[in-house]
């Protein structure tokens, strides 16, 4: 499908525009958090512990007395990095496996599909739990390693859905006349895959991947909340929420603000993904 009509259909959807606006703000926040707050998220004063919102600190203070607004702004980066990296890895691995399986067919398809079934048999959160137990992190692990482990955990278990999507696209496309034409003109398999099969998978993959970023961010926050995902030197919404849990009665602000940012981020991706899926679907474009 050509990008232009899809874009025209998307531009008219308010849900898509809201999602896009949200996303732009969040991306800016992840790239240059200093634009949004002058405070240092690591500067904490225990005397201010769990203090509610005031004029100087619109979101109040956390358990250690850090400025919650700064913590929440700086927490955007970790979530975005995990969500985007995990999705990128899943798109590459799952996409390749699915394309090759669907295009090659026969025993290659049988082997790869069974392999995907095996990974699909392990629920994402449980599998991620197992991977993170196998590679534990603590406060002394460098931040990039902790993050990489979470990305790894999500990728190992998360690629199967995407493989199913690209596999079915490849199966549909490989019987198309233009693929036959390309083959009769002497194109090799790699060229056919890259030039003819891959482009038709881009639409459905993009729609799914957008929602997947939100889904991975939610799972990352869940893992961090449990205490086995990202670890304290990394500022993460999941950890902030875990810290707030024992005090939800006395200091609800500690729960509210990180939760709101987390939910708005997931919402942004869900809105964009849902709108692009609808725009790509010929049945709803009718």
């Amino acid at each position: 499908m050509r990008p232009r009509p899809v874009w025209a259909a998307l531009r008219r959807r308010p849900a898509f525009l809201i999602g896009l606006a949200l996303l732009l703000v969040l991306v800016a926040m992840a790239l240059v958090p200093g634009l949004f707050t002058a405070r240092d998220p690591a500067f904490c004063d225990v005397a201010l512990s769990r203090r509610g919102p005031t004029a100087g600190a619109p979101f109040g203070y956390s358990l250690q007395g850090c400025d919650l607004y700064a913590r929440v702004v700086y927490g955007t980066r970790a979530s975005m990095v995990v969500g985007v990296c995990a999705t990128a890895a899943v798109v590459v691995i799952g996409g390749l496996v699915g394309l090759v399986a669907g295009y090659a067919g026969g025993w290659v398809d049988a082997v790869l599909s069974r392999l995907a079934d095996v990974f699909f048999g392990i629920p994402l959160l449980l599998g991620a739990l197992v991977v993170l137990v196998a590679f534990p992190s603590d406060g002394s692990t460098p931040a990039w390693q902790t993050t990489a482990k979470v990305v790894l955990a999500l990728t190992v278990l998360g690629w199967t859905t995407l493989a199913r999507i690209t596999r079915s696209t490849a199966i549909q496309v490989k019987q198309a006349d233009y693929v036959l034409a390309a083959r009769s003109l002497g194109s090799g398999h790699t060229r056919i895959l890259a030039r003819h099969v891959l482009p038709s998978a881009v639409g459905p993959v993009l729609a799914w991947a957008t929602i997947a970023v939100g889904m991975f961010i939610a799972v990352e926050a869940t893992l961090s909340f449990i205490g086995i995902g990202l670890q304290p030197p990394v500022v993460s919404w999941g950890i902030e929420i875990a810290e707030a849990q024992p005090y939800i009665r006395q200091s609800p602000h500690m729960l509210l603000f990180p939760s709101a940012f987390l939910s708005l981020t997931v919402l942004a991706f869900v809105l964009i993904g849902d709108a692009s899926r609808a725009a790509l679907d010929p049945r709803t474009r009718r």
Binding site: A15, R114, L115, D117, V118, F119, F120, G121, I122, P123, L124, L125, L126, G127, L129, V130, V131, V133, A134, F135, P136, G214, A218, A221, T222, F225, I226, G227, I228, I241, Q245, I248, R249, P252, L255, S259, L262, S263, L264, V266, L267, V270, L271, D274, R283
Partner: protein, 305 residues
Amino acid sequence: MRRYVVRRLAQAVPVVVGATFLVYAMMWSLPGDPLAGRCDGPCPEAYVDRMTAAYNLADPLIVQYGKYMANLVTGDFGVTFAGAPVADELLQRLPVTLQLAALAVAVELILGVAAGVVAALRPGGVIDHLVLSSTLLVMAIPVFVAALLAQTVLGVHLGWFPITSDGSIGSLILPAIVLGSLSTAFVARLMRSSLIEGMYADHVRTAVAKGLSRRRVVTAHGVRNSLVPVVTLVGTDFGSLLGGAVVIEMIFNINGLGTLVLRSIRGGEIGTVTAVVTLLVLAFVLVNLAIDLIYPLLDPRIRLG
């Protein structure tokens, strides 16, 4: 029909073996020495020998796994590092998690299908828009955040539900609603689109033409056929339900497998973690197998073909 059942059963075997092996291999083989950190300083040789024998650590991984699964089938789930059998606590907690999951699936099916059908009756109407936007909102709020919010608002401030579980079914209602909420949203959306599509089918038009009431057309001819993809979704989503149950149990303090697995992770009891995760993976695969086996009841093309 018989061939379909046999083929589906045969397909499930490699998945069960592969998935459980994967979990076992990650738990016992990746960390290098599974006994590392069990004692203060280097472990006494007697302890290492005892543990190596208890967990078959001297065998190649595949043999270890084989022995583990053979024991599992006979109800022996291994022992903790302290030597207590894992099975006791596991079997005591299993019913709690099953109840929670079953309640959540019930919520999902009743609320989700009802919302989807009502929305599909008038596509583009007020209720349709309401269902579509509210499900988007539910999809955006991660389950653990929804649980904390529900606990704070409905439990602490309004006092409508107990804040923590005392093991009774009544105290599982709020956790189950929260746990099922995400899947409910997916079910409602799929039910809606599936029914809208289904109402254009020839057999539905025939039913209208022969003068059936609208109610009968929708329930007997539209909904029944549109349920097939919904039931599949409930199956594939059961995995995220089991994962979510771990967090929900933690938040509402429910004594199920989820709290057990988290406690075992903190205590480094990888034997217990392996047992619980293996059990949950089995549950997931079996639920999907069961769903595939009841397809023929819903779809005559499989029954007769």
